[in-house]
């Protein structure tokens, strides 16, 4: 038997669920309509040539592997550099701090394309000759590392002072406290930023076409240009990037929610 109150609660819950479902439906229909509009714009006004696209698409899609390889390696490098950079920026040693600050300022302050050309063409003149793919990874990694340094620093500083004090009060040295208490907490703050940067990097890795890496944009340009159809091939490229972005954003969300679940961090009032 149910009390009246329980019946009401059930009815309300059901009504809420129905309302939420209707909202979701309307939201999805909205998206679908906009996608349709976009497709209509592309197909109707850009005189898209279907047979050309069927020729070009597989060629462009192959570039995904280079794009992914360069982006993955670069994000790893950037993460390592950002960790070092953040430690440097937080260091009480003036010279270490100056080096980190210079690194951040220089690599954030100058265009990525120049940095790439320096890796590709200037470094060899002092005897450092790297494969183009390593140039791309180096340039992207150093550049993003500089941006991420500030994010890492903010993440470390976002760990409440009380945590540091509790660690110190327990006799932990600065290093132990950082490794065991601060870094793991900062990490959770930082993960979303790393994910965002990876997604952004997918697109910035297109610059690697300058140094003859046959990634997505290189392929789109080269197959489109001959027939004056780069607009069409770039739209294919854009769709590829958009798909990659959506996929990796979903992966990122999954990772974040798993991290959160790992905490069993559902707060309880008390």
């Amino acid at each position: 038997m149910h009390t009246d109150a329980e019946l009401l609660a059930k009815a309300v819950a059901k009504d809420e669920a129905r309302r939420a479902a209707r909202w979701q439906l309307r939201f999805r229909l909205g998206w679908a309509a906009l996608l349709g509009l976009l497709a209509a714009f592309v197909f109707l006004s850009l005189n898209v040539e279907v047979d050309f696209l069927t020729r070009a698409t597989p060629f462009i899609i192959e570039g995904i592997w280079i794009t992914l390889a360069v982006s993955s390696a670069s994000i790893v490098l950037a993460t390592l550099l950002a960790a070092l950079g953040a430690l440097g920026r937080l260091s009480s040693n003036a010279v270490v701090n100056a080096i980190a600050s210079f690194y951040v300022s220089f690599f954030r302050g100058t265009p990525l394309i120049l940095q790439l050309l320096v890796w590709y063409l200037a470094l060899p003149q002092v005897g450092i000759i790297l494969d183009p793919i390593f140039c791309a990874i180096g340039a992207l990694g150093m550049n993003y590392g500089a941006y991420m340094t500030e994010i890492f620093r903010a993440g470390i500083q976002a760990v409440p002072l009380g945590q540091r004090e509790a660690a110190a009060a327990l006799g932990m040295s600065g290093g132990t406290s950082f490794r065991r208490i601060i870094a793991p907490q900062a990490f959770r703050i930082i993960v979303p930023a790393i994910g965002n940067d990876f997604v952004a990097m997918l697109k910035d890795s297109a610059l690697a076409s300058t140094v003859a890496l046959h990634e997505i944009v290189w392929r789109a340009r080269n197959i489109g240009q001959k027939e004056f159809k780069t607009l069409q091939t770039f739209i294919i490229a854009a769709m590829i990037y958009w798909t990659l972005t959506i996929v990796f954003t979903a992966v990122q969300n999954r990772i974040e929610s798993r991290l959160a679940a790992g905490d069993r961090n559902k707060a309880v009032k008390g």
């Binding site: 945590q163 009060a169 006799g171 069993r264 559902k266 309880v268 008390g270």
Partner: protein, 287 residues
């Protein structure tokens, strides 16, 4: 830096306050376990501590009272050098550390500070549990990574103290799933697991929902009664009254009045203490 000679801290001789006498639980002839001498702190132009001294014998519980901003926290945090005093000396269990305002001493002093910290467990107002570690991990983190204790041994000790604060069954829970009172009790167990000589409490119940204050005070009272050495900064007059061997009333960075709770709380002599207690009671604790 010759112009600073004579200013710097030649370790002042520790002098007892007339009212500082070993409490009832103290073994006769026992030496003080904590002596803080002439603790002075400037924050820039702000003279926060004006040469405060304290003496605590093993087994004693002392309470520090005083109004907001009087310097209670700064004083307590100077005991384990979370706040580095401008002048003065702290001695805990034979380890002596003096102020070093001109940073002349090096890593050897840092080592001694860590020795002091291992001997002085601290419980904060905001608990400061490590949110990424479970209750038991919170407790064994320092014994393992500071003292180099084996995990097994550390866990055994931690479990003992978790049982004492009544939270053994929350062993594998994460702090975010505990109530405020439970968190503070875990924080106490964490401090105990390091087996310190002295426990420092900085308003351990101020961040708690009033209905949860009791459970924490109860644990603290138990610790006091079983002979733990404790320094407690608190606004809980009743706790001070019941558990303290001695009460220190701090005013503007100085101890204005020292004595047993019956005297300082019930019959204060110093006008500042009087005024504080009267203000404190208006409506707040009228009965």
């Amino acid at each position: 830096m010759s112009d600073m000679k004579g200013l710097s801290t030649t370790p002042a001789v520790h002098a007892l306050h007339p009212a500082e006498k070993p409490g009832v639980l103290v073994k006769p002839g026992a030496e003080p376990v904590l002596k803080a001498t002439n603790i002075t702190k400037w924050f820039g132009e702000n003279h926060v501590l004006r040469g405060a001294s304290i003496t605590v014998w093993p087994g004693e519980t002392v309470c520090i009272l005083g109004r907001s901003g009087s310097g209670k926290s700064t004083f307590l945090r100077s005991m384990n050098f979370l706040e580095d005093p401008t002048d003065g000396t702290v001695e805990i269990d034979g380890v002596i550390v003096g102020a070093d305002p001109f940073h002349k001493e090096g890593s050897e002093r840092q080592e001694r500070i860590r020795e002091v910290r291992m001997r002085a467990g601290m419980v904060f107002q905001e608990f400061n549990l490590f949110p990424h570690l479970s209750v038991i991990e919170n407790c064994v983190e320092a014994p393992i990574h500071v003292k180099g204790m084996a995990r097994k041994e550390a866990e055994a000790i931690a479990e003992k103290y978790l049982a004492k604060v009544g939270l053994l069954e929350k062993r594998d829970e994460y702090p975010s799933r505990l109530s405020g009172g439970q968190r503070q009790r875990v924080a106490i167990a964490r401090a105990l697991t390091m087996q310190p000589k002295v426990l420092l409490f900085d308003e351990p119940t101020s961040a708690l929902d009033p209905t949860l204050v009791g459970e924490v005070l109860k644990v603290m009272a138990d610790l006091a009664h079983e002979g733990r050495t404790m320094i407690v900064v608190t606004h809980e007059m009743d706790f001070a009254h019941e558990a303290a061997d001695r009460v220190y009333y701090m005013d503007k960075g100085e101890f204005a009045e020292v004595g047993p709770p019956e005297q300082v709380i019930d019959a204060p002599k110093d006008p500042r203490t009087k005024e504080f207690l009267s203000r404190f009671r208006t409506l707040g604790a009228k009965k």
